[in-house]
Symmetry: D2
Subunit: 347 residues, 4 copies
């Protein structure tokens, strides 16, 4: 009963089947294959706009390469202080951009606020040539805190960025979970709200290893085929990545997978918030729960066979629970019951 | 009947099956999984020495990341003028090393010569602080010309490198083909001959997408776990890559696959060299053939449904034929017969 | 009457004279000159320890190059949130280090606290391979706030760094002002307190353009001759830079120049702090004053011919006043009198 | 009697005087000074076109920064195989461009040929995304071999570059010597011939340390103020560099200095070419002579007090003689006489 991460889950059966089916005959290598073409076209349908799209193998590369197309080496990338690109990619954005500077900004619930971004631009990054130049704003959707930006929030942030000729990037490692939660058209929280480039994740939501950089501003994609190669992300047998994406994006499959993960998270959080000793750090709007529980309860849960991570960036006793596209509802119920029993004993 | 590249082939059935089998239960993410551990151990057996090994998704990343562990940013990496790292990785080594300089060296048959390397070190890279500092020597085995270094050749090159405190890298995108051709123990052409780090390829030889950096000098691996993450090559669901490698390295499977490709290349080259108009550029010692044929013959072959690449780096009329782990012998025979017929008509 | 910066001042007459005197005969270029040798030896005397020293042309290069010798590209450099390397060098440290990450830390009076550094190391940079690895700590002495670290404060910070195998850098753009203020031996606030490398400035304190990287841990200097060249800081006619440094470091000249600047700052701050509307942001321990005054007073001062910068990183009405090695005491008195008069009128 | 380099010479008296004169009063720092403004204007006169110009401290930085404005990190910079940027700047162009690749091209007399450049573009750098993308062509004027490109030669090279949307850079460390030799208007061998950016040197020709990047295509200069800062080349007391350039460019002073050096080189080469044992490697068209002499003659010259460098990139017995703006004609005559005598004795 493993709630450590959506990365500990395997692959959805239909996505794996697509990989199996792709293993037939010879196919042009290095991304010039019909699978990749079809994925790009399908993304155009999903986003109601022609896009340029480039599959890669990891989320870190997906973000770092996308950012490298948006900023010169002397640029600043504004992001939330808990952003994955800032905290958990080991300097990959710095590597791929040639040394651009990430500027972390505080905001409640894992979300940037218009005021927070404006303050940095007006007080620190005014254009002074002794300082890095504002180049990009990166928004994570769903956020690292398991919350979701509303369309108007994104639009407000993007408008500030535009005012300084900055580009807007969205880290969508859990984009599907956000769309599923918000119930909006994908276009509403991306290009219609001012997003130029999306790092669209599939791995956490049922793929084996497949992410794709989606350019809504296709001019920005001009040299991306070269950047991807140089970045070590142009797979020779790309069909095996693109086939995953094709299966993922077929109909509503990507949303269906996310809806399950989200529903599990909702159920689990509802089951926990009744406990008097439990406190949720953030509203649960995707597939992650950040909750504080007494140490005794946590120890008891672990003894009972549940796995989860301590969230060391927050107060002691805080854990993260992540629900996956294939989480067994029985595991969720078992967690709720066990936690309830342990909490009652502790009270 | 596709002889364009070993990358146009799909995956070997048993390797694909290993991926399918790996899709079971939850597994710790980001490389801390039992598949990865077993692969590292198996490599220790194959090379008769404990190694540190780090799986990645592409050959370009495998080379560029390996080199980044061997050279400071002000270093020079000596390599053959036709080396993949120099010509076909779009500057990835420059990116991952922070701007190290590749120094291309001429040598017949795609192979570096001791004299060629010595000349560069004695005449150009003498240690003068106005010039980059010799840091690494990169040897491709099998070479880009489809030839193989003998153990003594590697040892001679490595000894020169040692004399200048340089590290030795081997680009083994087709390492299996070289071992299969030479019939030597893997250790004989790697660490016993002075190689510090091997980029061990599997993708071209039957994997979906799996390469692995193998450190014989394990001290050099110290920070590699961080470099891999920063380079965007730490797959979250790494089990799906490591499972491929595990199947690939099971028993002699990797050599069996390579032997087939090599045998096909031998057969095809033997069939072609009888033709008076054909001239082989290099001895065929792996799974690649570089051959010059009259344009009419080439056109006829294409009309007959054969695919292959013009080799524009050589004289007009030169083509490259690559044989794969799963090349159908009937396709090879058909090529020989068709070429023979066309050549006879042209004569 | 210009209090904008110590960079608006010219050069001290004896330092300029040294440049004039150096213009005699031919001299080996690129730093292999007797001036440079003598400077290195003199620094060994000043610091009571043999050092390796490398002159450069700018303070930004002096810091960025020094840091590049202390951190791998995947490293983190901890510094104060107001550090020049973080805020005012436009990403030069990121460029020269190949993309290392600066981690800004809050602390009162422009000074890092042991607790602040410890918190970052224990909570954020724990060694997790998904995050950059702590590599260096950079301390500014005198600080950007015009304050000075005491020897024990530096030692405490350096000890924390050592505990994580981090190197310690000191940005000494105003090192002379700190030594002059503290009245300690230079060794006491550098290597004896745990500093590995000092960026020792001369430009702000009377040189035309001359800074020097001083390695106390001389092993770290191993490749620095190459780094300096690659960084575009190996002047061909280096004698003209080294001659400045030689004059600067002759006897106590460097301290004498700093003492004047410091004395001017002390006098000016004393003159201002009597005013009921004035509030000093920080104790004045070097040659900079940060003071808040009513806007009317500021406007009046400007009308009266005084120049100074608004300090936009602080509250409106805050200005920075910088005193130089050659500030005319009469200008200081005039400032005090004018401010006093304007403040009285405003009251 | 020192013929090692034009960098062993000191500074011209009037240029030094300009530095002395600049040491007066306070002046806005970081390049926003009237000296810098006047230099930019004066360059506009000299080149008969408004330019953007940015002073820096070293030739290596001047080249590397200029190139960084012309190429993305995945770009290729084509240059002569003996180009200073390729051989003698220790990877500075790679550092400042974020890892662009220098592509060395052979050509007689230190000069690129149209055919040589065309071959590389047509055979190797065809635009294939697996290879770096042609971005800039760098021409050295006068060349590293002491020869000069004629206007039509530059125009022919630049036209090829334009055909591939490449930018054209000129390394003008000895630009004055070339203009003096050719007797053309500076515009004729720069923007009128297709050059976008010139690294205009002064240090070798009489300055203490002053070079300037001159943008003829001023759009390319857009972010250069930021690049210069980030590159550690924005001197705080820039007036002392710009004052040198102002004196250097006053009237024909820069050409006058170069004419002297050139005349000395002409005289010396004429004196040597009479010797039967002497062979000049290249026509002498600037201030450098590459000559092969018997080892006994070279030893005798050194015994007689002459200094010069062995030119190890060429055959044994080859030396380089560099004449400076202030070379004493008597030293030249003495060299000729001594060499003549030694050669006669050896014959």
């Amino acid at each position: 009963m493993d709630f450590r991460s959506d990365n500990v889950a395997g692959a959805a059966p239909d996505i794996l089947q697509a990989v199996i089916d792709a293993n037939s005959g010879t196919v042009t290598s290095y991304g010039n294959d019909p699978y990749s073409d079809r994925v790009e076209k399908r993304l155009g349908e999903i986003f109601e706009k022609p896009v340029k799209a480039f599959a890669v193998a990891t989320g870190t590369a997906c973000n770092a390469l996308a950012l490298s197309a948006l900023t010169p080496s002397y640029g600043a990338i504004l992001c939330h202080e808990e952003a994955h690109i800032h905290l958990d990619e080991c300097g990959a954005p710095e590597l791929f951009t040639g040394g651009a500077k990430l500027v972390p900004i505080h905001g409640p619930g894992g979300k940037l606020t218009a005021q927070g971004v404006r303050d940095v631009l007006e007080q620190t990054l005014t254009g002074d040539p002794h300082r890095v130049q504002p180049a990009a704003l990166s928004i994570t959707q769903a956020t690292e805190a398991g919350t979701c930006y509303r369309p108007a929030e994104i639009a407000a942030l993007a408008e500030i960025a535009r005012g300084r000729q900055m580009k807007v990037h969205m880290d969508g490692a859990r984009f599907a979970n956000a769309v599923a939660h918000l119930g909006v058209a994908p276009a509403e929280i991306t290009w219609k709200a001012g997003v130029d480039v999306l790092s669209f994740g599939a791995t956490k939501n049922g793929a084996l290893g497949a992410e794709i950089v989606v350019f809504f501003d296709t001019d920005l994609a001009e040299s991306f085929v070269v950047r991807r190669k140089r970045g070590g992300q142009l797979l020779s047998k790309m069909r095996f990545v693109s086939a995953q994406l094709e299966a993922y994006l077929k109909g509503d499959r990507w949303l269906e997978l996310a809806r399950h993960a989200n529903a599990m998270a909702t159920r689990l959080s509802q089951g926990l918030q009744h406990l008097p000793q439990a406190s949720l750090l953030h509203p649960v709007e995707a597939n992650e729960i950040f909750v504080r529980l007494p140490q005794g309860v946590l120890a008891g849960l672990r003894d009972a066979g549940f796995s989860f991570y301590d969230w060391t960036d927050a107060a002691p006793g805080t854990i993260r629970l992540v629900l996956a596209f294939n989480t067994d509802p029985a595991h969720v119920e078992a967690f709720i019951q066990t936690a309830g029993r342990l909490a009652a004993e502790a009270a």
